[in-house]
Structure formats: C-alpha cells, structure tokens
C-alpha cells in the first residue's frame, strides 16, 4: 500500500494508530484461522497463495473506492447513505451510453448526485442521514423508471472490463485504480488546505467557520467526491460483471461505513487516517471470504460479521476522543 509508506507525520496522533494496528493484527489472525482450516480439511494453504490474496484485493478494490469517498463524508461529521443507488445509477447510465463516453457518464452521474447531497446538507441544513436516504430512494426510482425494473440489456464497454477485470503483469487492474484513488485521497487529507478543513469541520464546525474557513464549499466538495467515487465503483463493478444490474450497490453501503469505522475514523467526524480505511476494507473482504471458505451458512456469517464489527469498535471505544 502506498498509503502505508507515508511515514507518520508531525501532526499524527498516536491514538489514531491504535485501531490500525489492531485491525491489521486481526487480519493476520483471520489468515491464520483460515489457513488452519484449509490445512485441516484440504491439506493446502490456499489463503496464503499470491493468487488468492490478489483476488481478495481485486474484490476489495470496489469496496475500497466506495469507502474512500465515504471516509471524506464521515470525517466532516456526516454520512452518505445514497451510495448504493448512486453506484447502480452510474453503472446503468455508463452501460446505456456506451462507447468512449461510458466512463465519463458514470462519473458525472456520481458527481451530480454528490453535489446535490452536498447542497442539501450545506445550504438546506437537512441532516445528511435523512437527505441522502431520500436521494437514494429517488435514484432508485429513476433507475427503475429507466430500466423498467429489469436488468439492463446493455453491456459494459471494453475499457470498463479492462479496468475492472484484466490483469497487468499478473496484477488485477482494479487494484491499480484503488491504489490511484488511495494515493490521491491520502495526499489530499494530509497535505492540502481542503484536507485540513475537513478535519476542522469534523471537530467543530462553528470554530472552523469562525476561523474563516470555507466550510460550505468543503462540505459540498466532500459529498461530491464521495458521489463521484461511488460512480467510479459502479463503473468498475459493471465492468467486472460485464453489465449493470438492479441493486448492485446495495451490498456496499454498510460495509463501506464499517470499513471506515473499523479503520479508526471517528463516526462523529474529525479524526481518522486514510490508511485505516484501507486496512478496514481488507479486513471486511477477508472476513467474508474466510467465512465462506469455512462454508459457514449465511445466517452464521451475518452474525459473526456483525459481532466482529461491534467488538472491534468496543476495543477502540475506550480512549477515543479527547474531552475537555
């Protein structure tokens, strides 16, 4: 991970690193449990093969791109529940338009929805949880109207398939896309005025505003970025499955939020490192994969999945947030 090679900074708070360390340790534990299981049942170490790991990262890339955007929104103290149908709408419109304009269309759909969310939150002051939930329903309705409620017949373009499913030198392209997004987000959060303002708003919006920061613009931009990244994830996912389908984004909303929070970002905003979100995504993808390798029935998987998220947060919960 490039984000991992960025050294701890002057402004790094030691408390921020703790969740990342814990989550990373848990990833190792998961791999050990899974390997123990496959050794016992099949006599192989499938989980440690490079191919398996790369495949997990490829699957993780879709979630990772959504989570990167979600993290920006969570850092300013808000949430975006519209990513599910933003993702689906971007995928559907991209395949509908097709050709060279497929990917720009998908990104534009995401960007537009994100800007609308941002305007609603920054200017109309509607709580983001309600506003984005409403936008999600609207997007869903629009897409049902567009497709008649069936899976669209149109297919992903070659470029979309290349970005999502092809490999270069044995490494899936999707990983490079995720890497690119990660580098940009990590630099933006660490090094730019925009990034600093995001943390300031999440900590105390009134103080940030009174410091003369452009709080509204930053809120809108954060939502816009989140929408556009959901659009990108939609384009990739359509490329991976060769077409768009109804409800394709539904499985990404809560895992994206969970990944951000497991990575140590405060759900109320203001604190968290981007590296944590990457670790959180890998943890969630691996957990799903290991549970399915162990042939855990769906009910058990859901229960374990939920218990793991809650217990991770309980472990972090203790020395969270400095109070005065």
């Amino acid at each position: 991970m490039t984000a991992a090679t960025l050294k701890p900074r002057r402004f790094a708070l030691a408390a921020d690193d703790k969740p990342i360390v814990i989550a990373s340790a848990f990833i190792v534990v998961l791999l050990m449990i899974g390997t123990g299981y496959t050794l016992a049942t099949q006599g192989t170490m499938t989980l440690l093969s490079p191919n398996y790991l790369l495949q997990q990262l490829q699957i993780g890339a879709f979630l990772g791109v959504v989570a990167a955007g979600m993290m920006l929104v969570i850092l300013i103290g808000h949430i975006d529940l519209s990513v599910a149908w933003t993702l689906a709408a971007a995928a559907m419109m991209a395949t509908t338009v097709g050709g060279a304009w497929a990917i720009p269309t998908g990104l534009a759909v995401g960007l537009t929805v994100g800007v609308i969310n941002g305007l609603g939150v920054a200017y109309l002051r509607v709580p983001s949880m309600i506003f984005t939930l409403g936008v999600n329903a609207v997007m869903r309705g629009l897409m049902v109207a567009h497709t008649g409620g069936f899976a669209p017949q149109t297919a992903a373009t070659d470029l979309m398939r290349f970005l999502a499913a092809e490999r270069i030198a044995g490494i899936p392209m999707a990983i490079f896309v995720w890497l690119g997004v990660s580098v940009v987000i990590a630099i933006v959060l660490k090094r730019t005025v925009f990034g600093r303002t995001i943390y300031a708003i999440g900590n105390r919006e009134a103080a940030a505003y009174l410091a003369g920061m452009h709080t509204r613009g930053v809120i809108i931009t954060a939502f816009a970025a989140c929408g556009m990244l959901a659009g990108l994830a939609g384009v990739l996912l359509a490329g991976y499955s060769t077409k768009a389908y109804q409800g394709m984004g539904d499985a990404y909303v809560l895992p994206a939020i969970a990944a951000v929070v497991i990575g140590g970002t405060n759900i109320l905003g203001g604190r968290g490192k981007y590296l944590g979100t990457v670790v959180g995504v890998i943890l969630i993808v691996l957990l799903n994969s290991v549970l399915s390798i162990m042939q855990m029935p769906e009910a058990g998987r859901q229960i374990i999945y939920g218990v793991v998220i809650i217990s991770m947060l309980l472990v972090y919960g203790r020395n969270q947030r400095v109070t005065s």
């Binding site: 002057r10 402004f11 790094a12 708070l13 090094r191 730019t192 005025v193 925009f194 600093r196 303002t197 943390y199 300031a200 900590n203 105390r204 009134a206 103080a207 940030a208 505003y209 009174l210 410091a211 003369g212 920061m213 452009h214 203001g270 604190r271 947030r321 400095v322 109070t323 005065s324």
Partner: protein, 516 residues
Amino acid sequence: MTDRDAQPLLSLSKISKRYGGVRALEDVDFSCSAGSIHAILGENGAGKSTLIKIMSGVVQPDTGSMTLTGTPRRFLSPAEANAAGVVCVFQELSLMPDLSVADNISIVGPPTRLGLIDAKAQRRRAEELLASIGCEDVNPLLNVRDLPLSRRQMVEIAKALGKKPQLLILDEATSALTNSDVATIYEVLKRLRREGLSILYISHRMHEIEELADRASVFRNGRHIETFPMGRYGHGEIVELMIGREISAQYPPKVKRERPAPLFEVKKLTWENRLRAVDLSIGKGEIVGLGGLDGQGQKELLLALFGVLKGVTGEVTLDGKPALPGSPAEAKAPSRRIALIPEDRKTEGLMLPMSIAENLCSASLDALSTGPFIDRTKEEVAITDAIKRLQIKIGSPGDAVATLSGGNQQKVVIAKWLMTNPRVILLNDPTRGIDVGTKQEIYALLRQLADKGAAILFYSTDYDELIGCCDRVAVMYDGAIKVELEGDGITEQALIASALNIDAGAAARSGHGVHG
C-alpha cells in the same frame, strides 16, 4: 423592620466555591429572613449566580455550611432544594418549548389518577397558578414555544410558585417583562412577602430594587461586602460598594495624544431588534472598549462586524472603503484583515482534539499554502514564531490543544489570529476565566498591537479592564451606544451609571459624597 430579631430562614456560613483556578465565592456569610424581599447586588462575576446556585442545589460549595430554619441542610440537587421549599427562577428559561404550559408547570410531580397523569387536574392547576399572578390570558394548553418571551417568564414564575416555596429566588426573572407585567409581579411579590415568604431578588434595574426590596446585600469579587436595609444608601453609594477599590491587574501605560483619524467606521449598523443604528469609529492605533451590562448587543455588534450575522444593514468602512463582510472568510480576506477572538474558546475558538499546530494555522492556511498544498516549511516557521511571540507554554506543537491550560488555550486563539496580521481586531471578553498573569500579558499585547497600527475593539464584562486598557469606551444599552467615555472620563462610576442608563452626573456627585 424585620431586621435582626427574627431567626433567619436560610443562612450560609463560611461558604467558598472555586471553579478551577477561579474563585467564585470566598468565605461568604449570608442570611435571609421570612417575610422579606432581599435584593442581591453586584457586578458581573461578583458571585451572585454561584450564591444562588449553591442555595438551590445546582452546585455544591467546596467548604462552608447552610442552615434552613435552624437545621443544617445540604442540597445535592435542585430537586432536594425544591422539596425543602427553596425554589429558583433562573435567568435562562427552563421551560420545554414543545410542551404545553400546563405540562411545564407540572413537569415535576404532575397530578395523577390511577397512576396516569390527570390532564384535567393539571390544567386546572395551571389555570389557578396563572390566575394568581394575573395571567388569566395565557391558555394552559398552548405550547410554550408559541408564547412571547414576557409570557414565558410569567409561566416560569407560575411554575415556581406551584412548588410552594418558602424561599423564592428570582434571578433576573423580570428582564423581559412588559411594564404591566412588572406592575403585576410587584403586587404578587408584595403579597407573598405578607404571606411570610422570603424572596431573593437579583436584578440590574436599580429602580425595581428600590421599589421592591426591604434589604439589600452587595457582593464583589466573590465576597459578601455588606447587607443593609434599603434607604440607608443612595444610588451612588451603592455603586461605590459594588465597585470597591481593589485593583486586580496592572495595565500598560496609555499615551496621551490627539485622537487619530478614523480607520474603521461603523454607521447606523442595525440587525433585527438587537442592534439599533450603532455608530462607532476606531482610529489607527486605538483601543476602543465596549461596555455595558451583559446582553445589550455587544456580542451581536462584534459578530455583525465579522460577517457572521445575516441581514445586517448599515455602513462599515475600512480606510474609507466599504468593508461590511458577508462571512468570516470575507472578513479575514487580505482586502479587510478583520479578526475576531470569539467568546467561547472551547466551542468557537478552537478545535479542541486537534493539535496546537493545526489550530494555530487554521485561520491563515491560505497564506501558508502554495496552490492547494500546505507549505510545510512556511507552516513550521509560522508556528514557531507564534509560540515564541505569545510565550505559549506547550509540550510539543503536535499535542492536542485540549491539553493546555485555559490561559494558554486563549493565547493559541489570539496567536492564530495574529498570524493573519489583522488591521482590525475584535475581542469578545478575551480574558474571562484566565489567570491574572496571562491577563496582563494580553493587555500588554493589545497595546503593542495598537502601537503597531491595529484598530482594536474590545468587549469586556470586567469594568476594571475597560478602564485600564482602553483609550475610549463605548457603553451599550439596549442595542445602541448610549455614551462614549474618553480618557479620564472612563471611571467606574461613569461606566456603571451609563450601563444602567442612569444619569452619570448624579451617580458621580453622590459617589463623591461618600468620600467627601
């Protein structure tokens, strides 16, 4: 009168209370008797609120004891105090806006029938209590939110009376009442006194106190100065007692000189009904104080000048050019360079969990960056300079600002704005709750900034500060500047008299009489 013969209803002995490093009350002995209206007087921060909070169980004293009708008592919560008949009507209204008047009046212990709230009985109770204070016109079924402020205050009083008090404490409880309400309340209070209640009355309106009270106690700097029957002293003497002669801080010397040409001018600034055509001008190198009682529009004036309030009308010019900002971002832009040190550093001035360095840079990021990127080198230099210049005592710039003491936190807020190199500096009570040493550093700093050419507008609730620091003081009353004091004319008498909007000359003359 009911002087010292009767046993006091409530008496406090040797009560002290500190908040952090600030002493709010020190060794206070105080008592009040049944059948009396007892006024409590003192400046802002004299300890009045702490006193009544201790009486009504909101806070616990650090040391000292309290007796009620001769038996020692200790109230651990307002509910315990209420049960013992000590009821307080606080300055900030305690009503729930979305509940009905009747619900609010019976919020504690509503009448019940078969274990459920008896709405009819509750409504009757509300009607009776409201009628007893001449408020038959208030419909008990209306939501409190829909009542005007003056009616809400009457509901608050009805609610307090519903608790059957022996001791009723009114803390600025008449500040929003209309004249006819005030007349009714006078009648009610006098009736309650005849019925044997003890009433403690806190108000900044001197004529109300003269009309109502039979005794008065003066507090100053957390100490009980004197209790006397009303009529013993005149206005001026009471003001003298409130001010005292203590000097608690050293100020940098003021230089006598010609009044400089105006740099920052405000004309007919108006906002809703809180600011009424404010006219003010500050010269280059001048420190102008804003005085007056709390809540006369001083905070609104500062916020309006900083672009926080929407719908402000009037004219603001800086160096002759229009300068009324539309937002804090516009206020600090290079064309204006206005800075505001806000009132509450914890919620408005700082992002507490973030580092000292990040907080220091938060207002000057534009100057410290190249394109969208923050320039690390420039940032580091600026942070080191700021910490050195204000002598902020810190471990490391990467520590959370929440780890600093109050005084050092305030220095961070000030330093953050000095990094923008402001031409106009607005300060909203910047020394509240910080130690004397840091206060003196801040005074010296302000004078130094003024000498370098900044125009400074300084609101303080501490009269001493206004006298010690300011070249001129504009005293606000009811959203407008009533009096401007200058040079030797800035005296405690003049400040208090104009804050109370009474004739300064009369106060000064009778004040003179005490010593002469």
